[in-house]
């Protein structure tokens, strides 16, 4: 089945298809948070100034890090691939502007560990000269696997936050059909408004990207969802989808309605099974920003080198959204929007619920960065003393995944890594609702993150031990074999000698 641009519109209405989403559902718990979204939506989005230095971490996505294909001193053009994908789950990296590679080495990157990681550093030449691009005008003439290759080569990863390589999620896999393709523009975390602004300003590009994704997936129906606190974006997308069978749905504003599994529940009433993926119930979910990146990669041939991003918080003079080149140092953005270094309490990448504190302002923006939040003492929550759990159960009421946060907490606290997995630790989406409602201020999510990373570390240790055991046993075997061979050789020589001496004696 080939769904062309016109055919998609025609089938949708010729058959008089009724709406896919007839009613909305609810997920368990969630919390209502102060939005703080108006501050950063007052100004239209403009391009950020071209920074002098671009810092490009090789690992900006889930999976294997990319591998540099340029050397220090190389001159690169805008859009040129500077690191290629290594392995299947990986994404290449492209130069966001033209300039010279000045350093390849370990530098601070945006990561909760605060550790350094391999980066390519380039100095821009100010010309911003593009490499040769290869646009594809008729995506509907392209084979889905060809489309996925282009999207992979363009380095596109999920821009909603997780950074999973998009081409993998655009492959339903053998024998699976996609019933509904959902574009996620919910953006439920406070302060962040980059998807909102993208939907207001680039509605057409989102729809084009959605059509390309639909073609790649052979999806039956398409839905774009957003929270009902974004009336401008809703109006813009309604206008952009007029005459098509794409549905635009507003969902109630409650955190974390933008979580993939939560959004699927709200729209369809179906639950993604534990340890399962949305594709297992015939659904694929992508971020609206990813749709724009896909559109630009196919129809303009542009790789992913920039993104919409929010710079906000009480410390920022002019909170706003900017189109930022990947690799731009955070400090450049703070300077552009104006900030007060002396009253800066906390610098957060991401939102206040799921973001993490940055060790400094010298780290760069990466593909998954949706927000820089510069907090003053007033908007950073005061560090309240942690008190013992009183077993009130508020965390379980708030958990959008129906877990038992209290049980998870006890087992994490006791470092019982086996028991905690029995309570489905790995279904936790680390949304932070439980910590938010906890009257004892227990940093619950911190405990879960601790437990998750410890379990992974233990697994790695186990694999390493197994490898060492195999190597050791092989070595022992080899030593035995060599010994036996030496002994055999020795015996043979002895025999030869004795036969010679007996011969001599006989003579």
């Amino acid at each position: 089945m080939v769904v062309s641009r016109t055919a998609a519109g025609r089938t949708g209405f010729a058959q008089g298809r009724t709406r896919v989403i007839r009613r909305l559902w609810k997920f368990n718990g969630g919390v209502h948070l102060p939005g703080h979204k108006d501050e950063s939506t007052r100004l239209p989005v403009t391009r950020a100034h071209l920074p002098k230095r671009l810092i490009l971490p090789l690992h900006q996505h889930i999976g294997e890090a990319a591998e540099a294909v340029v050397k220090v001193g190389d001159h690169v053009l805008k859009g040129q691939m500077i690191a290629h994908a290594k392995g299947f789950v990986s994404a290449p990296l492209h130069a966001p502007s033209s300039g010279t590679v000045v350093e390849i080495g370990d530098l601070p990157v945006p990561h909760p560990s605060g550790l350094n990681a391999p980066c390519i550093v380039m100095e821009t030449d100010g010309e911003d000269r593009w490499t040769e691009l290869r646009p594809h005008c008729d995506y509907d003439q392209l084979d889905p696997s060809h489309l996925r290759n282009i999207i992979r080569e363009a380095g596109i990863v999920g821009l909603g936050g997780a950074g999973f390589p998009s081409f993998i999620k655009l492959n339903p896999g053998p024998g699976k059909t996609v019933d509904t393709l959902i574009l996620n523009g919910v953006e439920c975390e406070p302060y962040i408004t980059c998807d909102d602004m993208l939907m207001r300003e680039r509605g057409q590009e989102i729809i084009c990207g959605l059509r390309i994704m639909r073609h790649a997936l052979h999806a039956r129906a398409c839905v774009i969802a957003m929270e009902d606190n974004k009336p401008e974006a809703y109006a813009a997308l309604l206008a952009a989808t007029r005459g098509t069978d794409i549905e635009v749905i507003q969902v109630p504003t409650i955190y974390p309605a933008g979580g993939e599994k939560q959004l699927i529940k709200v729209l369809t009433g179906m639950e993604v099974p534990s340890n399962g993926l949305p594709i297992h119930i015939g659904i694929v979910c992508h971020n609206v920003g990813t749709a724009v990146a896909v559109y630009r990669a196919i129809e303009h041939g542009e790789p992913l080198i920039s993104r919409y991003m929010t710079i906000t918080g009480g410390n920022i003079v002019q909170p706003r959204n900017l189109e930022v080149l990947i690799g731009t140092p955070v400090k450049d953005l703070l300077d552009e929007c104006g900030w007060h270094p002396d009253t800066l309490e906390r610098l957060v990448m991401g939102g206040p619920m799921m973001g993490f504190s940055l060790p400094g302002d010298d780290v760069p923006v990466i593909k998954t960065t949706n927000c820089i939040l510069a907090m003053t003492r007033d908007d950073a929550p005061a560090h309240r003393p942690v008190m013992p759990c009183i077993r009130c159960g508020a965390c379980a009421d708030a958990c959008p995944v129906n877990l038992l946060p209290q049980q998870l907490y006890w087992h994490a606290h006791a470092k019982d890594l086996d028991k905690i997995q029995e309570y489905d630790l790995f279904d936790c989406i680390e949304c932070g609702c439980c910590s938010y409602v906890c009257p004892s201020n227990i940093p619950l999510v911190h405990y879960y993150r601790y437990a998750k990373t410890e379990i992974w570390a233990a697994e790695r240790e186990k694999q390493k031990a197994e490898q060492a055991r195999i190597r050791h046993e092989f070595r022992l075997q080899r030593i035995d074999r060599e010994k036996a061979e030496r002994a055999a050789k020795h015996a043979q020589k002895k025999e030869e000698l004795t036969s010679i001496t007996t011969k001599n004696n006989e003579e």
Binding site: S113, P385, V386, M387, P388, T453, R471
Partner: protein, 190 residues
């Protein structure tokens, strides 16, 4: 009376035959307990426990010849797991068998190495690459940090360095535990 003795005697004979047959038919090769213990040990093959490798130590524990607290690289977590498996009480690491240290990696100073191959012969996991009169180097991903290569080196060119932390293997710290007593503002106590 006689009937009872004969019956019991016959039963004993039959069961004896059945058990004897089962012992041959369902014989388990190797020592399953030693295997289980070996799976818990860290496979460093360092010999700090006093046995020439993890497997011999596991067999010694299984036979009851060695105690469970002799493995320094396994650390406290390893001792707890062994105690769980064997139904014993965990105990602190015996001081005679080393201390718990962060994970180390052997590094050969390539300027000093004379290519004598002694470290290659000492390495229990073949993690050192080289040949006679050729420069030796450590395969970092295979090195278990057992330190067995350090002593044989005639020119002391091998040092043990702590394994560098990288982002992929970084783990979140354990959160500060809650305070036992609720903290009241000063002067709140009547």
């Amino acid at each position: 009376m006689l009937a009872a003795i004969i019956t019991l005697g016959l039963l004993a004979a039959v069961f004896g035959l059945v058990l004897g047959y089962a012992a041959i038919r369902f014989k388990v090769e190797g020592d399953p307990l030693a295997d289980k213990i070996n799976a818990i040990l860290p496979q460093t093959q360092c010999g700090q426990c006093g046995y020439p490798g993890c497997r011999p130590y596991a067999e010694a524990i299984a036979k009851g010849e060695a105690d469970i607290n002799q493995c320094a690289p396994g650390g406290e977590a390893g001792i707890v797991k062994l105690a769980d498996l064997l139904g014993r009480d965990p105990k602190p690491l015996s001081e005679a068998h080393g201390q718990v240290k962060p994970k180390m990696l052997a590094v050969i100073d390539e300027a000093t190495c004379i290519g004598c191959t002694l470290c290659i012969q000492a390495c229990p996991v073949d993690a050192i690459l080289g040949a006679a009169k050729q420069l030796h180097t450590v395969i970092a991903s295979e090195c278990t940090g057992c330190e067995l290569c350090v002593a044989p080196c005639p020119v002391d060119c091998i040092t043990m360095e702590p394994v560098k932390k990288n982002i992929r293997e970084w783990t979140w710290s354990f959160p500060e535990p809650p305070q036992e007593e609720p903290v009241l503002p000063k002067g709140a106590h009547g």
